[in-house]
């Protein structure tokens, strides 16, 4: 399976994503932001980091970059696209997924392990994962997800809420919400569920010696759906 990871100036999880994809069997290519075309791929990933320094609203400059048109084209044809952390912020800025990511509720950068409840209904990202709750890792300043009531309702009706912060028992509450996100939302799909944007980093938790190994379930499932 072929994947492409886009490198923007200021991306800093591009290598980690490359390592993770290769570990689970993808043939991955790194694509420069100034290129015009994505090579033939089964999966495109927008990695975490601080694209263009995030000096404007996070992700907004990357959403106007050279490569982004071909990402949008790929996504609109039904191609699988993942945006993690800054990648999620970029997806939001391009309009490929709905909502906004605000400054964290306590106005601090947060780096820690968190638990998320995953949505396995009709999507290729989580469908065959054995667990319902994954221990992943977050590291962000602007991950406080927000959207209008109408958008929230239509996303709920269409099962587009991909992952929600919870505690180790799967309890979704204010206490398990690290950043103030509406409905504890940590990630969402687009309507067709070929695009996933989420704040937690699966690529940082892919080995027992790291802070968790649950990211492995994510990548294994992803690959198995592409074969």
């Amino acid at each position: 399976m072929k994947s492409s990871v886009i490198i923007f100036p200021g991306s800093n999880c591009d290598r980690d994503m490359d390592v993770a994809l290769k570990k689970f069997g993808f043939k991955n290519k790194m694509i420069w932001h100034n290129d015009n075309n994505i090579p033939k791929s089964d999966l495109v990933v927008l990695p975490g980091g601080f694209s263009y320094g995030d000096y404007l609203r996070c992700g907004s400059i990357a959403a106007k970059s050279n490569i982004i048109n071909s990402v949008i084209e790929f996504a609109n044809k039904g191609g699988m696209v993942i945006g993690i952390c800054n990648g999620f912020q970029i997806l939001i800025e391009t309009g490929l997924v709905t909502g906004a990511l605000l400054r964290n509720k306590y106005l601090k950068f947060i780096c820690k392990n968190i638990f998320v409840k995953v949505n396995k209904t009709q999507n290729k990202y989580f469908n065959k994962i054995k667990k319902d709750i994954l221990e992943l890792h977050i590291a962000h300043n602007d991950g406080n997800y927000f959207c209008s009531k109408d958008d929230l309702k239509s996303m709920q009706d269409n099962d587009q809420i991909a992952v929600r912060y919870c505690d180790s028992n799967g309890e979704i509450s204010e206490n398990s919400n690290p950043n103030g996100s509406i409905q504890n939302i940590a990630g969402v799909f687009n309507e067709k569920k070929n695009i996933l944007g989420m704040m937690p980093h699966p690529e940082r938790v892919i080995d027992n010696c790291l802070s968790s190994n649950d990211g492995s379930y994510f990548f294994e499932n992803l690959l198995s759906n592409m074969k």
């Binding site: 100036p9 200021g10 800093n12 999880c13 290598r15 980690d16 390592v19 993770a20 975490g48 980091g49 601080f50 263009y52 320094g53 995030d54 000096y55 601090k108 950068f109 947060i110 780096c111 820690k112 890792h137 590291a139 300043n141 980093h201 690529e203 940082r204 892919i206 010696c209 790291l210 802070s211």
Partner: protein
């Protein structure tokens, strides 16, 4: 141009006789640009004029040392053609004036020192010290510094894996911000700052030059008074995004042999980088300052030479490589300009609009820089306090433990390190909060452990012992995670070297750290000195900070301090003598601040450490933690909190009072967890190596149980430990 006189020289921070010496050496009066250059190169920060004499004595050699002090950073060999580049540096003065930018640019500066040598940064650490929590500035300074460190490190994408935070009223007017970076490089791809060859192009790359940070290094070489607000413009402004681009562009250019020498523009900017490269190569250098990319209009040669704008590098390139190099920097959207060349004049010659604006023999700026043998006062070992049972009456071990765990210098610093990205790069296998941070060497079985330590109270009470103690503590922290200690870097934060008391603290701390470094084969490979940490004549406690680096040959052998299994046995290796003077218990509970620090026995230190390391390698130890602030019980409480388990202490036998037993801070001790079935084997090894040990308890479910005392819930203790800082920062 203004005509230079003695008064202007003094305004530049030079002393009367120093100015006289400049005129004699030049055989004329310098012009303003030249005076600026002299003041930048001859200040304490760049010239080490008060410290050089003593630093020369440091133990800097070892079988793994590839590069000792004198380069951008030190380099050690970790086998398989891999090397680790590392250094610690202070950014104290700027951080007090403007905490966010001061701390951020501190991180930026040390990162550049490391990637200048061709290494990809793989870990950041920091040691930060603030005034008393009740001081009105402390909270905002702490918040600003933490956000600044995070803002820079998080953006550039290098994990912050360990650190240290302390509070003491002696930092009320001078906080300390020491930042350390480790980088990974192939042994045959290390880049140095020594220029070589004539007529080689000198290249400026990175950000444009602005008027920020002019005289930053001079400011860092002076004490503070009431007017520090006026010094804000001397603080540089950081741009981690540009630094990330610069890092990637430099590493890309370093893939082949285009670069002859490279040096980052840190303190004293273009001045020190050009002078140092030429000086090391025994060459001259010619620069055309109108070719320097400037961010502001009408910048004078004086301003260009002294600006400390960040994220800039100076490179001496091989002839013919200019085009290729430019392409790389263009790709990363960075400025690139050929601003001069190397010459055989042995002078630094500056041109602006075709006029020669400065011409100084380089020797005068480096070798001829002043070197002082400052007067210093010897420190006596303070009289020991004789604590008696009376001092402890009405106290309960459990209450004291709660108080210590919630005290500012012992409490959990999670509020701080959760704001630092400590997992980016995907190789962090031990995060902050343990004895040392550990990262895997990417793509290999090896891992690198790193820690930073300092103990200002011990150093203040007796500098010689304090100096030794920190090196030993660093060594112990590395051993506790299963790493073989390799080398250290030091950041020597002191008061005013012109005062014999402060100079005495410096001289004896250095002597102490050198003695320990020699005995433990733990050489110093890099470092920095920060003097004049003094406000309105009040100096800080002497605070040498030691950054230590160790190697774990197979990362699977790394251990952590959290208790692992119910039923395991807890041993303390190293002798508990009951030394309470200068302990947290004496200071926080008995309010007794006098007395000597605990004695250091280097032989025992080495012997205990080596045995523990062997036991870890033989997989006989499940968890380990050194005994430091707060003694045995505080150490164990932390192991319990992290492992969410408890301990049942055996009835304690011996001559010591139980308070001495639980809270004394005798050195060279480790708390280790051993499986029951391995205890005899471990005892045998300890006996064979003559390591003193005591079996002190057994791991149980979540309570700490001591004879005749109420049982303590570990969950509750965890709250006490975590809450203090959270509440302090929120209220």
């Amino acid at each position: 141009m203004i005509k230079v006189n003695e008064k202007i020289a003094i305004d530049h921070g030079l002393k009367k006789d120093e100015y006289k010496k400049i005129c004699e050496l030049l055989k004329r009066n310098p012009n303003l640009t030249e005076l600026g250059i002299f003041s930048a190169m001859w200040n304490e920060h760049c010239s080490y004029k008060s410290s050089k004499k003593h630093l020369k004595k440091l133990n800097t050699k070892g079988k793994r040392v590839i590069q000792g002090p004198g380069e951008n950073a030190g380099v050690i060999d970790i086998g398989d053609n891999d090397a680790i580049v590392f250094k610690i540096e202070s950014h104290n003065h700027p951080s007090f004036i403007e905490p966010y930018q001061g701390a951020a640019t501190g991180v930026g500066g040390i990162l550049r020192d490391v990637f200048t040598m061709g290494a990809r940064p793989i870990a950041n650490l920091n040691s930060i010290h603030f005034g008393s929590p009740s001081n009105k500035k402390t909270k905002s300074l702490l918040r600003g510094v933490v956000q600044g460190i995070g803002g820079y490190g998080n953006c550039i994408g290098v994990p912050t894996i360990a650190g240290q935070t302390s509070f003491d009223e002696s930092y009320n007017g001078n906080i300390l911000v020491n930042a350390m970076t480790l980088g990974l490089v192939k042994k045959d791809k290390i880049f140095y700052s020594k220029a070589a060859g004539l007529n080689k192009p000198v290249i400026y790359v990175g950000s444009k030059t602005g008027r920020d940070g002019i005289h930053g290094a001079s400011m860092a070489s002076a004490k503070f008074d009431d007017k520090i607000e006026e010094k804000k413009p001397t603080v540089q402004v950081g741009d981690p995004f540009t630094e990330k681009l610069l890092l990637e562009a430099c590493l890309e250019l370093m893939r082949d042999d285009s670069i002859i020498a490279i040096q980052d523009m840190g303190a004293a900017g273009l001045t020190s980088s050009s002078v140092e490269m030429a000086s090391k190569g025994k060459l001259g250098i010619e620069l055309h300052l109108d070719k320097v990319p400037c961010r502001e209009e009408n910048m004078s040669p004086y301003e260009i030479m002294l600006s400390e704008s960040q994220e800039r590098m100076l490179i001496v390139l091989e002839n013919g490589k200019e085009k290729k190099a430019k392409e790389i920097f263009d790709k990363w959207n960075l400025d690139f300009s050929i601003i001069g060349k190397t010459t055989n004049s042995k002078n630094i010659e500056l041109y602006f609009d075709k006029n020669k604006v400065a011409n100084i023999p380089i020797d005068l700026l480096s070798e001829e820089a002043p070197e002082y043998d400052r007067k210093w006062k010897k420190n006596k070992l303070p009289q020991k306090i004789n604590f008696t049972k009376k001092d402890f009456k009405n106290l309960k071990i459990t209450d004291v433990l709660k108080k210590i765990l919630a005290s500012p210098n012992v409490c959990s610093k999670q509020w701080i390190w959760e704001q630092y990205d400590h997992t980016v790069m995907g190789d962090t296998i031990q995060k902050p909060g343990g004895d040392a941070g550990v990262v895997r060497v990417h793509g290999s079985e090896k891992a690198i452990a790193a820690t930073v330590d300092s103990s200002a109270s011990y150093c203040y009470s007796h500098p010689l012992s304090g100096g030794k103690q920190i090196v030993c503590e660093t060594w112990r922290n590395l051993i506790c995670v299963g790493a073989e200690p390799i080398a250290i870097t030091n950041c020597l934060n002191f008061g005013n070297p012109e005062k014999p008391e402060n100079m005495g603290e410096f001289v004896e701390c250095v002597e102490g750290l050198n003695e320990a470094s020699k005995f433990l084969n733990f050489p110093v490979v890099s470092g920095n000195v920060s003097f004049y940490n003094e406000t309105k004549d009040k100096g800080i406690k002497p605070t040498p900070t030691i950054g230590g680096v160790g190697l774990i040959k197979n990362y699977k052998n790394m251990i952590t301090m959290d208790l692992k299994e119910i039923g395991n046995i807890i041993l303390v290796v190293g002798k508990t003598e009951g030394h309470l003077d200068q302990s947290i218990f004496a200071k926080e509970v008995l309010n007794e601040k006098k007395g000597p620090p605990p004695e250091i026995n280097l032989f025992n230190e080495k012997n205990n450490g080596e045995t523990i390391l062997k036991l870890i390698k033989d997989k006989l130890i499940r968890s380990a933690h050194d005994v430091s602030l707060g003694g045995i019980i505080t150490g164990i409480a932390k192991m319990c909190i992290k492992g969410k388990k408890g301990i049942n202490f055996y009835k304690f036998k011996g001559l010591l009072d139980k308070f001495e037993y639980f809270f004394s801070e005798d050195q060279g001790r480790y708390i280790v967890e051993v499986k029951k079935e391995n205890v005899d084997k471990v005892k045998k090894i300890l006996d064979k190596n003559s390591n003193h040990y005591d079996l002190i308890g057994e791991v149980i479910e979540g309570n700490i149980s001591i004879n005749d005392e109420p049982t303590l819930s570990v969950d509750k203790l965890a709250e006490y430990n975590k809450d203090w800082l959270n509440k302090y920062m929120v209220n």
